[in-house]
Symmetry: C2
């Protein structure tokens, strides 16, 4: 369709929802798609060739995450990884003899649907789900965590960095509390983090964070859609949630997605290779914009924290006076891609559940605007965005007068 074809430079600020593919990643995938088509389980040459691609990919991902290759399970994306981590762990413990009613899973009320929508499945089984309170900025505090830990706790699951408001949880600090608790109470508690938003901006080594399980979505870090990783450290046993062949050590059946696995390895390598420099650069642009919009649009409210506890590329503001859903459309006509909230939570409509939970302010939650920056986003891009936003605000003011 002609009118949808981009004709001039776009300013894409929806990297939290989807990222452009890295050229090296595309090259890697195209090479696999064009030359290697065997089934990795086959024992002939074509099979061995693709088995090598899969296992090389696994080894690379393992190295990036600082775990053993056996700790890498490839899935169809972040959603499946989160489902497998949560349901797979609880199911495995149940199979090992632990009653559902003897298990508690801790999480927060600001999680992505691929965590929050799994919870009713747990409660239907008789597992108790308890919510860790988050503060006004979306942060899990040590005291909030301590308040809900119990000898029945088997799993804690939350986002490393929230996809809407960009709050980065102090994972190591929280896991220290958990490890101390489990030692004192002689229990075993597994910590799972949803790191879908992390690889481009934050360290993703499981050891360093002291987590047992980590979900990754390659489509969110310049890799292809349709591929995810569930990373495990040490002795974590899971039950499969899909049933079939013995692929992925019996944990995830179905022919391996060879081309996407090759692309995933490349994307994660590049993402983690220089995340620090990338984060420093982009957070400067982020902070400049936040400063600027505070000065020029006095009613603006920043959702989430400032500084290092905010994801380097995340800006989430509320503009209580204006219809931000229509603002996204207006920005779009001016070449800017933004969103109000998470794409998986229905990009188009309704309030942000995350901001509602954090602030208790419905009006604020209904007027969110998320600008998630990319590596290439410049301050001049952001100045243009601000200009358009101010223009839109003036327009709306005129209309409502």
């Amino acid at each position: 369709m002609f009118f949808l074809k981009p004709t001039k430079k776009r300013i894409y600020l929806d990297h939290a929802a989807a990222t452009p593919l890295n050229k090296e990643v595309v090259a890697e995938m195209v090479s696999v798609l064009q030359s290697s088509f065997g089934n990795p389980s086959a024992i002939h040459q074509e099979g061995i060739m693709v088995r090598n691609i899969v296992e090389n990919g696994r080894a690379k991902v393992a190295t990036v995450l600082g775990i053993k290759p056996t700790g890498v399970t490839f899935t169809s994306g972040g959603t499946e990884s989160n489902n497998l981590a949560i349901l797979g762990l609880v199911e495995k413990l149940h199979q090992e003899g632990r009653a559902y009613s003897d298990m508690e899973v801790l999480t927060t009320k600001i999680e992505h649907p691929s965590i929050s929508e799994v919870l009713p499945v747990l409660t239907a089984k008789g597992v108790m789900v308890r919510f860790i309170e988050v503060d006004n900025e979306g942060k899990i505090t040590v005291s909030a965590l301590e308040a809900v830990l119990s000898p029945k706790t088997v799993l804690i699951t939350f986002a490393y960095a929230n996809s809407e408001v960009g709050v980065v949880q102090s994972v190591s600090r929280l896991t220290r509390v958990v490890r101390r608790y489990q030692k004192e109470n002689q229990t075993k508690i597994f910590v799972h983090i949803d790191a879908a938003q992390a690889p481009l901006w934050l360290p993703c080594q499981l050891e360093r964070l002291d987590v047992d399980l980590m979900s990754l979505d390659v489509g969110k870090c310049n890799g292809p859609k349709g591929i995810g990783v569930l990373a495990k450290r040490g002795l974590v046993s899971l039950a499969p949630i899909l049933f079939g062949g013995g692929q992925e050590q019996g944990l995830r059946p179905g022919t391996e997605n060879v081309a996407c696995i090759a692309g995933a390895a490349k994307a994660l390598e590049i993402a983690q290779a220089n995340y620090q420099a990338r984060a420093e650069r982009v957070s400067l642009v982020r902070d400049n914009f936040i400063e600027l919009i505070k000065q020029t649009v006095p009613e603006v409210l920043l959702n989430g924290l400032e500084g290092e506890e905010r994801l380097a590329n995340n800006i989430n503001i509320s503009l209580p006076k204006i219809d931000t859903e229509f603002a996204v459309v207006y920005l779009d006509t001016h070449g800017i891609s933004a969103s109000t909230k998470s794409a998986c939570a229905g990009a188009g409509s309704g309030e942000s559940k995350v901001v509602a939970v954090m602030t208790g302010d419905t009006k604020r939650a209904k007027s969110t605007l998320r600008l998630s920056l990319g590596e290439e986003t410049t301050m001049s891009d952001m100045k243009y965005v601000l200009d358009i936003l101010i223009k839109y605000r003036q327009k709306m003011e005129k209309l409502t007068k």
Copy 2:
């Protein structure tokens, strides 16, 4: 690795496990990977562009299968499609108030692991799984079906064409029996077929076959791995088996695999466009080979049927005198890719469960060799294969003398 690089023409006879990608499919995918990266749920230009790709793909697949676009659900492959069909239907009926103990699911003992491994999940819930007997050739007869139908039957699930022995079930004849039974007994029975092996060789229109649900795996018909379709006709309600965002009408969460969806549509279009001519051509090669090997290797046993009730590209023989697992390795060193059985059932080792069930003959089941042909396979290729097989047999005879 140097020694794995193919240096001369290979004769690839493992199309049941994996198929080379069609060049048009690769071109379609590369174009998407290079140019369109948005999240289909986003409401800006990048989002709308990829939403169009996804919905165009869905519309094309729907046209190919003769159903409405809303009947097309994209999954991560045939395994997930089978899981969703079976678990999703039973779960939905349960949610609607039907007790698990009031449900019976019918299947056979020769199904792919992505069906057979789902059955324990059903029985654990209290659903009764009943097996329809297959005859010596793997065929479901009308009388065998009638013997297990009951007022409690809610679902019948089986492979359209068996991936190991290539038996093509008489789907329409079986569904006629089912439709008559459900009318007489005022029940509703859903028929699901696993059509993973079908698109290149058999008609895949749900109406024509009178089935309610059909699983497809795009990697098995010259398309990419990691993408499947669950096709629904008419009023079939399913519950999701993964939990998260509202994608795929709430049935399958997670960001859509845009590039693979575009590739899937193209692959399925091409596969079904001229399946008849393709099947006629390849089945001639198949039949010539079967005739020839019968003449030259008198102890050969053909597993499955001859003629139209056999998948056009499937040859499955038992060579009771020889170690066929090692034969696969020997063939491989002579440039020929074959297998003993299904890759998902562990390509390398053990007996073929399918042949064991069909024939009750363990020795026969331990000496299977599956040659699954492609569109390009010629009679001269197959004569070479026969020569190598005979050479191998002579070698083995000498060794054991």
